[in-house]
Amino acid sequence: MSTSSTDLSAEERLVQAFEANEGQALNGAASLGEIRREAISRFSTLGLPGPKSEAYKYSPVTRALRHEYEVNVDAEPEHGVTESDVDDLLLPGLDAHIITLVNGRFDADLSRIGDLPDGVIARDFHGASAEHADLISEHFAQYADHRERVFVALNTAFTKDGAFVYVPNNTILEKPIHVLNVTSTDRDLFIQPRNLVIAEQSASATVIETDHTLTDSQTFTNAVTEIAVGANAHVDHYKVQAEGENASQVNNISAYQTRDSLFSTTTFTLSGRLVRNNLHITADAENCESRLYGLFMGRDEMHVDNSTLVDHTMPNCMSDELYKGILDDDATGVFNGKVFVHRDAQNIKAYQSNDNILLTNDADIYTKPELEIYADDVQCSHGATSGQLDEEAMFYLRSRGLSRSQAQSMLLVAFAGDIVDHVEVEPLREVLSETVTERFAETSEAATRWKA
């Protein structure tokens, strides 16, 4: 008896797709095949988050996956993305190494990697897995936990392509890497890019990932980015999510820090339908500094969920976390931040906060900042605020002649500015600041560069 696909659960469909594609999904070392098979079996065991899942309590990802997305394994040669589309999405004034992924697959014609310092690699993951099998097997699937995290497991099983960045010892990569994620398809695709960034000892790099949608079809991206930050290395990472209103994503970022390293990541969620960010930082050696910032701006029916974990396993580290949300219309925001300080991790400074502004009565926010501390000599703080714009501040501005919407826009831009100001890359900061200002401008219809 043949079973029509509609009778299958999302899990079953995904496992079937794995079986159908397994053979040709990934080139490269045989050991990766083993990891992928382990990952699919973990995926089957863990299953998609059920209604009782604490981690996905407020975010209906499983429901979203009932839609029958086509699992994309092969590149779509007819994706229709042109050089000028790419031009429109680049950051004016930013000289960067550009890696373009279309529907999760590297596109050489649309990438502009340019000259790289000696020893630096910036290219497609697929090709790198064959040519740099040693680096891949040393780092791949070492930081993102495919055994316990269902979306990491799923992505790992389907690993095929993405961006690969390697910066060797003592090398400073001056220009940022810009990974341009473009979705352009007539089909309802399930897209799973897999990225790996390795900064070896005393290396330094900036990686900017931006997500864009050029078409109207429904898509679901489940991305994994692993970032290895070597001893005394410095990695600045930015993620800008500016997808279309039919695009959903689960974005998994796992960073692993060794001693004396600095890792900072800032996530901007500007648009999209359902966006879930799983950010996981492990500070696994002494004297690490971790910075995580985020700004999410929900409107219409958008749903944005930031779930972060900072894992302090070793002493003398510091982490600073600030997420801000502005929710308009019927949008929903979720912030679930956890800082975990292990028993031997003494002398940790960890700060965490989440502040939200709700612009309508229909907007919702669920926030849970959490500290779990087993060491005794720590300096930690956490907190969350959610509310409307401050009435007293509004009155002050309006008593000086500003209209309600002018005053509101001024206060929102200031509120968001706290996060935008953390961006060290000036052209990126400018575009973001423009986007935020235009979003909240009196005539909020103004088109922005990254408006979905």
Binding site: L397, R398, L402, R404, M410, V413, A414
Partner: protein, 254 residues
């Protein structure tokens, strides 16, 4: 026609009545001082005049240049020329003074039918007015009131007053928290702004300020009413005798 005419104004917040029938008229060119014990309703009156929405006007009228303004939004009142220097100026982290001044000044200018100021002219104005009221011009490069000292915040209020050139300036305890030099500087600034086409309502607890800004009339507010009015010597008398004396008087009169 009076600049400001308040008739039998009753105001409540959350069902408790705070102003219980205020009558007050200020002619253009005049400066009126309002004194009175803590909690008597002085700031409430100031905020109601500026259009704060949380206060409920139960009865009475407020005419500004003969026109009822109680239905106006706070920004409409600002555009008509009403300015409130706050007792507790609000800190606005991330809102730059420059940007704020540009929008505010140009909104008010537009309402007066004047051309918006360009960046260079605005800067020039900022420099001039900052000097007039003794505001350190470096403060105009920061966020509005953020981290300003108490005195700096008060000076910033008078600085904005000077920038916006209102017809009616309401100063709510601008002198509280100022050291003696700052007080003199602010008072000098205000005195320069006292012109025939502008009126002032100065709320204060201290007669000292009124030595510098000499009022035409002094009013005493107690329990949401103006219970006594007089010339500038009334302030001196109050300083001597305290409010009990007026309170008793008022009780007898009632």
């Amino acid at each position: 026609m009076a600049l400001l005419e308040i008739n039998d104004l009753h105001v409540s917040v959350e069902d408790s009545e705070i102003l219980r029938g205020v009558d007050l008229t200020i002619d253009t060119g005049q400066t009126h001082a309002i004194m009175g014990p803590n909690g008597s309703g002085k700031s409430t009156l100031a905020k109601v005049l500026a259009g704060r929405e949380e206060y409920e006007v139960d009865r009475g009228s407020v005419l500004f240049e003969g026109e009822d303004i109680l239905g106006d939004e706070p920004d409409e009142r600002a555009e008509k020329g009403i300015f409130l220097a706050f007792q507790y100026p609000v800190e606005l982290p991330g809102v730059s003074m420059n940007n704020f001044l540009k929008e505010s000044v140009n909104k008010v200018r537009e309402a007066r039918g004047e051309e918006p100021l360009g960046a260079a002219d605005l800067l020039q104005q900022i420099r001039e007015k900052a000097e007039l009221v003794g505001l350190n011009a470096d403060l105009t490069k920061r966020s509005v009131n953020e981290g300003f000292s108490g005195g700096e915040k008060k000076r910033n209020e008078i600085f904005q007053l000077a920038m916006l050139e209102p017809k009616l300036a309401i100063m709510d305890e601008t002198d509280s928290g100022l050291d003696i030099d700052a007080l003199r500087a602010v008072a000098d600034g205000v005195n320069k702004l006292r012109t025939d086409d502008r009126g002032f309502m100065v709320i204060t607890h201290y007669q000292r300020l009124l030595n510098y800004i000499v009022p035409d009339r002094v009013h005493v507010m107690i329990d949401g009413r103006i219970v006594r009015s007089g010339g500038k010597e009334l302030a001196v008398e109050l300083e001597d005798k305290g409010y009990e004396w007026v309170r008793e008087d008022a009780a007898v009169a009632a």
